[in-house]
Structures are given as C-alpha cells and as structure tokens.
C-alpha cells in the first residue's frame, strides 16, 4: 500500500456525561499528522470512551474532534472516515477474509477490478494473501487481527483507531505484532490512536501518550517525558515507579530542589522548583536507587537490607531507611558487590531521576 497522507488530530474540550456521571472531563490534545497517540490508563479511566467518541459510537456531550481542522463530532460513524480495529476484532463471521477486507471498499462503491486489486494488496501487506478465502472461524487469533487491520487500512482512512490491539494475543505473538504494527504505521504515515492499559506497549508504540485518570488527561507528552518526568503520583505509580515517599522541601534553584527526608538532605527535580517548607512526595524508580556500602561518601540514607531477591537479570533489594522502605533494582549481570539481608548499607538516589511531586 502507498503512503497515506496523514491527518492532524485535535481534541478540544471533550466532555461526556452519562446521566449525571461525568465520564470524560475536558479532554484536549493535539497530535501532528502521521503520529501515533496512545490513550493510556487503567480500566474505567475513559480511554475507550474517548476512542469510541472519535469513531462516532459514543456521542460527546460537548467539545470538538478536529481532523485536519474539520470538526467531525456531529457526523455519523460511517461518515467519519476512520478505520477501527476492535478489541475482539469484530470480523464479519459470514464473510471470508477477502470479503471482510472488501466490505469497506464496496461501501465506497469502487469498481470490481479496483476492489480485487486493493484487497489483494492489503492482505499481502499483512502477510495473509494465502488465506484470503478462509472464514474468520478458520483463522487463529493473530491472523484474525491481521485481517481486521487490513480491513481497517484498505479504505485509506484519515485515522486508524486501535482498541487494545495486542490485548488478546499471547506474549510472543504480542511482541512480534507490536513491532509489525509500529513499522506498518510508520511506513504508511497514518495518524493512529491506540488504547491500552499496558505502559510498556505505550512506550514502545507511541509518539505521544495521554495518561488518563477518571476521564481526565493526567499527563500528555512524549513517551520518555512521561517515563522520566511523571507529573503526578498517579502517573508515577502507573509508569512503575515503586518508591513514592514523603519528604519536605528545603530550598530550590531552578528545577533542582533540595529536600529533606528523615534528617538527610538529597536533591531532586521539579519543573519549576518549589518553595521551602512544602510537604512533597518523591518518586524514584527502583533502577535509580543504588544500594551502596555504608561507608560511601555520597549523601544518602543509612539503613538495613530487609530482603534480597534475585530475578533473572536483576537483583531486587528492600532496604529500611529514613523511617520508610526503599525498593532498589541492581543489575545481576554486572559484578557489583552483593548485599546480604541484615547488612547496613547506604541508599543513594539519582538526583536527576528523583522526581519531586506536589501533594
């Protein structure tokens, strides 16, 4: 298939009420043409509702959905020109793979010859050319997904919408499809919206991520931004930051904040800096927590190793210090000194990855 002229997508102040329940609250974002946006969040956060609003299956109470600057919020689903891959694929069980893919083209009243050609191209693109005559029930889960993808892409939609695209696949297949999906999306240049609850998938696939919580965008940014600089406790926890600990601001210079915790001062990061005396929370990924020897000269918290677990490529430490418990991950591959349970150690935090969050 040829490269698609990507469309820009903007959501402007989207709101949705179900009776009195305010399920989508003031969702606004912009993504440039050809990029992949992931709506990320736990179940019930409204991510699927936003996707279905874009597709037209859920009417927004207010707000605009702009595709190339044109508001499509009032259009019927069939007039929106989006291609959706449903979570359960939603293939037509009474049609062959080829007829499934041809459906959208028939609705667009293309000539028979063109339909045949485009169906063949689309099935070849997802490497299913040989199975064109099979019915969905004769295809495996992964094959069904490829048909669903071909069916959505063959009409060259303005937007590709994927609802938990890899959720139903087993692990190996998921990794394979993830890479394939990313390559396909990049090479076609089609603007894509993905819904998922899996942060690894989001980090791998996305150009932009919107983390949703209770119908609101909690943070919108590029993947590494969200990974390295979570803006809230919720995002921190969701992105797998296990250490969320209370602290107090001592002072700050620019974005570098000095904080006190259990009588020890360490440095952290906040985008604007914070006034002294404020109670805050610090978020540190276990990989940025170092368990050093007690005599280490750097600033840190002296404590006791309470548990050690060796898991494949990493060693997981639990260390009690500063009146709380730190989780630290060290590489098992490097020959670093191993600390035994009960040993007195010093916990050293990486100041660039110690995120200071307002409470």
């Amino acid at each position: 298939m040829d490269k698609i002229q990507g469309s820009s997508l903007s959501l402007r102040r989207l709101d949705k009420y179900y009776d009195r329940f305010h399920v989508i609250r003031d969702v606004s974002l912009d993504v440039p043409p050809g990029s992949l946006l992931t709506l990320l969040g736990p179940s019930g956060c409204g991510k699927t509702t936003v996707l279905r609003m874009i597709a037209g299956f859920v009417a927004s109470t207010s707000g605009e959905i702009l595709v190339d600057g044109r508001d499509i919020a009032g259009l019927q689903p069939e007039a929106r020109d989006t291609g959706m891959v449903f979570q359960n694929y939603a293939l037509f069980p009474h049609m062959t793979a080829a007829d499934n893919v041809a459906f959208g083209l028939r609705m667009r009243r293309l000539s028979k010859a063109e339909i045949v050609e485009r169906v063949r191209d689309a099935l070849d693109m997802v490497k299913l050319g040989a199975l064109a005559g099979r019915y969905p029930s004769q295809l495996s889960g992964g094959q069904q997904q490829r048909v669903a993808l071909a069916r959505a892409l063959v009409v060259r939609p303005k937007l590709l919408l994927l609802d938990e695209p890899l959720g139903a696949l087993d692990r190996n297949l998921r990794d394979e499809m993830q890479a394939e999906l990313r390559n396909l999306q990049r090479s076609l240049g089609i603007t894509t919206v993905v819904v998922t609850h899996d942060q690894d998938e989001a980090l791998y696939l996305s150009d932009w991520i919107a983390v949703l919580k209770e119908g609101r965008i909690e943070q919108f940014g590029q993947p590494l931004d969200i990974y390295d600089r979570p803006a809230s406790q919720f995002v921190s926890r969701f992105m797998g930051i296990a250490n969320l600990l209370p602290a107090r601001v001592v002072g700050s210079v620019g974005s570098r904040v000095e904080i006190a915790m259990g009588g020890v001062r360490v440095a952290g990061w906040h985008p604007e800096g914070l006034a002294a005396g404020r109670d805050v929370q610090i978020a540190v990924r276990p990989t940025h927590v170092e368990v050093a020897a007690a005599i280490d000269p750097r600033d840190g918290f002296v404590g006791t190793v309470s548990a050690v677990a060796e898991l494949g490529e990493k060693v997981v430490y639990q260390v009690d210090a500063a009146g709380t418990r730190f989780e630290a991950h060290a590489s098992r591959m490097r020959s670093v000194r191993r600390h035994e349970p009960g040993a007195t150690v010093k916990v050293v935090l990486d100041p660039d990855h110690t995120i200071v969050l307002e409470r």
Partner: protein
C-alpha cells in the same frame, strides 16, 4: 455396559410409560381412521379401508381447508417475524431499562392472560360497535363500521397477538448472541444503519430467524380457539375442521384421517424448517 449404568436405565421407565401412553392414544386415534363410523352413533366399525383418505384427497373442499391453514400459518409467521425482529432488537439492546421493561411486560401479560379472555377482549375492540370502529367513525375516517371481526382479518390479528411473544422471546436470545461490535465495524467501514442491518445483522440472525419461524409456524398450524371464537363460523382452520367432524358430524374415523394427513404435512414442513436452519447455519454462520 456395567451394572451401574444398567441400574440407571430403570430411571427412564416413568418417562417411557407416559410417552408410551400419549403415543398409544395417537396411535389408537390414527388406527380408527382406517375404519368407518357406525351410523348414528359414536362407534367405529366395518372393514379395514382407505376410504377416509380417499375422501380427503378426492375433495377440493377438504384439501382447501388444509391448504388454507398451511398458507395462513405461513403468512402469520412472516407477519410475526417482521414485527418481532425490531421488538427483539429493542428488548435486547435498548439502553433504557424502562423501554425494555415496558416491552417485556406487555409481552408477558399476553402470555399470562388466558386465550378465551383475550379472544373476547379482541371482540370488544374489533366489533362493529367496538372501540376501533367507534373511534374511526367518530374521527370521520370511515362512514360506516368496517368488518374487523368474524372474518380472516380478526382471526389474523388475534393470532399474531398470540404468536408474537413466542417469536420475540426466541429472537431475543439470538440477538443477544450477536456482538454489537460487528455491526459497529460495518458502520465504521462506511455502511449506513440500513445497509448494516441488511448486510450484517440479518444474515447473522438468520439461523435464529429460522428457529423462531419454525416455532411460530407450528403454533400457528395448531390454532383452534381464536379461529373458533373470532372466526364467527366463516373461518375454519384444520383444528376447527377436525373438531366439527368429531362433535358435529360424529365422524370419528374421518376426523382421525384428517388429523393424520395434517400431522404428516406439518411434520414435513417442520422438517423443512430444520433443514433450512442447518443450511443457513452452514452458509451464513460458520
């Protein structure tokens, strides 16, 4: 077969006995169709004969009653289906609990009220001085009351009312098994509501439609009460015809022969439906 299993076989005895009893009644009735009614009485006698069957197949009047019943039942089934499909879709899918409850309640009430009550209710509604005629005359739509009852129209109206709950409830299950996302996929690919209904919803419901149709059809075939009460003697379906042979003409063998012929024909039709269902399942739903 081990001892345990043989022991279990005894448990089927009550079921076998009752089924046997029912079928021997049928069998006995069927057997009388090969004899003659004794003059003036309720008895059956004479030599073994195919006369009764020859009489049926030799008389246009007899065949007409059977043919008419088969045809009208088919028409009623189709009418019921056309009404039942949207009703089933709403009952299975409406987001409003109120709408679902009202529809279900209306259908359930139909089930609960007895046939005779309902037949008389229809007379009150459809009679020459009934509610509908009075309203139409009053509104100036018609000048004189039109005949709505004691003809095929009245019988058909009341029969559709009787059949509809069976059709709807059978279809609701089929609709519930149909994933909404498949229809959404069609809309997403550019199909209008209408196209989606005919290209996706109906084909996927077809197996359920055939099942609902065969149930409705077999119920329609055996109609007795509504044609009797609302037909005013002008409308006769097979069951009424048999009843008359039995209790008016006292011709038990002839009634039995008519029953037998009709039973066989009904079986053929129902088997046809079953075959159609298998075919549809094979072609449409894989």
């Amino acid at each position: 077969m081990d001892k345990e299993n043989r022991h279990h076989l005894w448990l089927t005895v009550p079921a076998l006995l009752s089924i046997g009893l029912l079928f021997s009644a049928y069998g006995l009735f069927g057997w009388t169709s090969f004899y003659r009614a004794t003059p003036g009485g309720l008895g059956v006698g004479g030599d073994f004969t195919f006369d009764n069957y020859l009489r049926i197949f030799g008389s246009w009047r007899e065949l007409a009653v059977i043919g008419e019943t088969l045809w009208i039942s088919f028409a009623l089934t189709m009418i019921s289906l056309v009404i039942a499909v949207p009703m089933a879709l709403v009952i299975a899918r409406s987001p409003s609990r109120l709408v679902r409850s009202i529809l279900l309640f209306t259908l359930a009430v139909t089930f609960l009220s007895g046939g005779v009550t309902r037949a008389y209710a229809w007379m009150v509604l459809l009679g020459n001085k009934g509610l509908i005629n009075l309203a139409l005359v009053h509104l100036g739509v018609i000048e004189r009351p039109i005949r709505l009852v004691f003809n095929w129209l009245g019988v058909s109206i009341s029969l559709v009312h009787f059949l509809l709950p069976f059709t709807v409830f059978t279809l609701v299950g089929a609709v519930k098994n149909l994933p909404l996302s498949v229809e959404e996929a069609a809309r997403n690919l550019g199909a209008t509501r209408m196209t989606t209904f005919f290209r996706v919803t109906l084909p996927l419901l077809s197996s359920g439609l055939v099942v609902a149709a065969s149930l409705t059809y077999s119920l329609a075939l055996s109609s007795f009460l509504f044609p009797l009460l609302l037909g005013g003697g002008r409308v006769r379906m097979v069951a009424n015809h048999i009843y008359e042979r039995l209790f008016v003409a006292y011709d038990i063998p002839f009634a039995a022969a008519t029953s037998a012929v009709f039973l066989v024909l009904s079986f053929v039709v129902i088997l046809g439906f079953a075959g159609l269902e298998r075919l549809v399942r094979k072609v449409v739903v894989r």
